[in-house]
C-alpha cells in the first residue's frame, strides 16, 4: 500500500501538491492490484495504468515548475480535501471485478477532483486548468475502461 499525505487544497500550490499525491496513490493502487493472483488476467492493464499515472505525475510536476507563471495569492475556497481523498488500501485477494471496481471508484474521485479544480482555475490560470481538465477526462476514460473489465 502506498502512503499518501494529502494536503489541504486551499491554495493553487497545495492543490497541485494534492494532485501529485493523487497520482502517486493511483500508481500505487494499480501496482498493488497487478500483483493480485485472482486478477492476473488483467495485470498488464493495471501495470499500464500504473505507468500512465506516474507519467501524469511527471506532467503535473512539469506544470508546477514550468507553466505556473503567475503568483496566485487568493485562497481556493470551494475544494474540500475530504471530498477527494482516495483509499489506497487495495482489497486483498481481489478478483478482476473487485479490483476493477476498486480502481474505478478511485478514478471517479480523481476525475471529480481534476474537473472541479479545472473549473476554479479556468479564469485564473489557463494552462493549469487545461492540464487538470485533460487529466480529469482521462480519469473518466480509465473508469469506463475498468468498468468494462
Amino acid at each position: 500500500m502506498v502512503e499518501c499525505d494529502f494536503p489541504e487544497c486551499n491554495t493553487f500550490g497545495s492543490a497541485i501538491r494534492f494532485a501529485l499525491e493523487l497520482e502517486k496513490g493511483a500508481a500505487g493502487i494499480y501496482e498493488d492490484l497487478a500483483m493480485e493472483p485472482k486478477a492476473a488476467s488483467v495485470a498488464e492493464t493495471f501495470k499500464a495504468l500504473a505507468a500512465a499515472h506516474k507519467k501524469r505525475g511527471e506532467l503535473l510536476e512539469f506544470t508546477r515548475q514550468q507553466k505556473l507563471n503567475e503568483m496566485i495569492l487568493e485562497p481556493i475556497q470551494d475544494i474540500r480535501r475530504e471530498d477527494y481523498i482516495i483509499d489506497t488500501k487495495t482489497p486483498k485477494g481481489a478478483d478482476v471485478k473487485t479490483a476493477a471496481n476498486f480502481a474505478a471508484k478511485m478514478e471517479a474521485t480523481s476525475a471529480k477532483f481534476y474537473l472541479d479544480a479545472a473549473k476554479i482555475a479556468k479564469n485564473l490560470m489557463a494552462e493549469a486548468a487545461r492540464i487538470m481538465d485533460k487529466l480529469g477526462k482521462e480519469s473518466l476514460a480509465n473508469k469506463a475502461k475498468l468498468e468494462a473489465l
Partner: protein, 366 residues
C-alpha cells in the same frame, strides 16, 4: 560578457588597440529586510563571476538567512575570503563606504538612506547603485479582463504583506469600470487569509516589526482623516494564537485623491489606495507627479493603450497585465527618479559593467 575587443592597426598603421574588461577588487552590498535571501543575489554572484570579492551586510533585522546561505557557499568550495558577511548596523555600512579598498556599493532600501549611501559612497570615490523607495500605481482600463486582473493585483498589493518595492500601492480605475471593479476587488480581498507565514493555508503573513505595523496603521489613520473611506479595514485584525504578531489585514481605501498623503508616500504594507480617473492621460500625469519612478502597470486588452503606457511612463519597470514587474536576472532592475540613485542598474548586463572596468591597451612593436 567579459570578452574585450580589439582593432588591429586601430591607432595607426602598426599600432594595435585592445579594450580589456577587468575586475576592480572589493565590492559590497547593504541589504534590506524584506528579501533577506534574494536581494544580495542581485549583486554578489555577478561580482564574483567577474573576478571581484564581496562583502554582504544583511539587514540587522534579518541577519540569519545570509549567514546560512554563506555557509552553503563555503560548503560548495568557494575560496575563503571571496564572499564575506559582516553583520551590524550603520557603522558597518559607513566603514564599507569609507574603506579605500572597497570599490563600489550596492544598496536597496528607503529613499532617504539611498540618497545618503549614494552621496557618501560617491564622496569616497566609490561606484554606487542605490535603490530607494517606490509608490507604484496599477491602472485598470475599462476593457480589462476583470477576474484575472483582480487575481493578479491581489498578489501585487498583498504579497509579502505589501513590503516590497514592486508592490502595487495605488489602484487607478479609469472610467466606468470603477464601481464593479472596486466591489469585486474588495470582496476578493476579504478572502485573503492572514496569519502565521509558515502555515500553508495562510495567504499573507505579518509585517516585519511593531514599528512597521505602527507606520502602516498611521498611514491608514491619516488617510481616513484626510477623507478616504476605509472599505476594508485591516487595522484590528486578530490572528488567534498569534495575538502579539504584527499583523495588518488587507486594507482598501476608497476615494483617495492625488493630494492625499496616502497617494504620494510609500506605505510598505497591504494597503490599497483606490482612485477614480477619467482618462489614461490623467493617470499617467498622476504617475509622473510622484517623486518615485519604480514601477507602474496597466491592465487592458488594447494594444494602443498598452503601447502608449509603455512608451510614456517614466518608471524603471512597466507592467502590461502584470502587477509585479520583477524581471528575470538577465534583465536590469532599478527605478527612475527618487527610486534609484546611480547609473548602472542591478542584474543583467548592467551588473557586469558595474563590477568591471575597461582598460585600453595600445601596442606597438619596434
Amino acid at each position: 560578457m567579459m570578452m574585450g575587443y580589439n582593432l588591429e592597426d586601430g591607432g595607426a598603421e602598426g599600432i594595435d588597440e585592445d579594450a580589456v574588461i577587468s575586475p576592480l577588487g572589493v565590492f559590497g552590498a547593504v541589504c534590506p529586510f524584506n528579501f533577506p535571501a534574494m536581494i544580495p543575489y542581485w549583486f554578489w554572484p555577478y561580482a564574483v563571476a567577474t573576478g571581484n570579492t564581496y562583502i554582504i551586510k544583511p539587514s540587522s533585522q534579518v541577519p540569519l538567512t545570509q549567514n546560512y546561505l554563506t555557509k552553503l557557499v563555503e560548503q560548495a568550495g568557494f575560496p575563503p575570503g571571496v564572499l564575506n558577511i559582516v553583520n551590524g548596523s550603520h557603522e558597518v555600512s559607513d566603514t564599507m563606504m569609507e574603506h579605500p579598498k572597497v570599490k563600489g556599493i550596492s544598496f536597496v532600501g528607503s529613499t532617504p538612506v539611498a540618497k545618503y549611501i549614494y552621496k557618501h559612497s560617491a564622496e569616497n570615490g566609490k561606484r554606487v547603485q542605490a535603490q530607494g523607495g517606490a509608490k507604484n500605481s496599477l491602472v485598470v482600463m475599462p476593457d480589462a479582463v476583470m477576474d484575472r486582473t483582480i487575481s493578479n493585483m491581489l498578489a501585487s498589493f498583498y504579497g509579502c504583506a505589501g513590503q516590497r518595492c514592486l508592490a502595487g500601492s495605488n489602484l487607478i480605475a479609469i472610467g466606468n469600470i470603477a464601481e464593479p471593479f472596486l466591489k469585486s476587488f474588495v470582496e476578493r480581498s476579504k478572502k485573503i487569509k492572514v496569519g502565521y507565514g509558515l502555515d500553508e493555508s495562510v495567504n499573507m503573513g505579518p509585517v516585519v516589526s511593531a514599528k512597521a505595523k505602527k507606520k502602516v496603521l498611521d498611514y491608514i489613520d491619516g488617510a481616513e482623516r484626510q477623507g478616504a473611506k476605509v472599505l476594508l479595514d485591516g487595522r484590528k485584525i486578530n490572528v488567534p494564537g498569534y495575538e502579539k504578531g504584527h499583523f495588518v489585514g488587507p486594507t482598501v481605501l476608497d476615494g483617495v485623491t492625488p493630494d492625499m498623503t496616502i497617494a504620494k508616500e510609500e506605505v510598505f504594507g497591504p494597503v490599497v489606495g483606490f482612485m477614480r480617473m477619467n482618462s489614461l492621460d490623467e493617470a499617467i500625469d498622476f504617475i509622473h507627479s510622484s517623486p518615485f519612478g519604480n514601477a507602474a502597470s496597466i491592465y487592458t486588452q488594447s494594444g494602443k493603450w498598452a503601447r502608449e503606457f509603455r512608451y510614456r511612463c517614466q518608471v524603471g519597470n512597466v507592467g502590461i497585465n502584470v502587477g509585479l514587474v520583477a524581471a528575470m536576472a538577465y534583465f536590469p532592475f532599478a527605478g527612475y527618479k527618487d527610486s534609484f540613485f546611480g547609473d548602472l542598474h542591478g542584474q543583467g548586463q548592467d551588473a557586469i559593467k558595474f563590477f568591471t572596468d575597461r582598460k585600453v591597451v595600445i601596442t606597438r612593436w619596434f
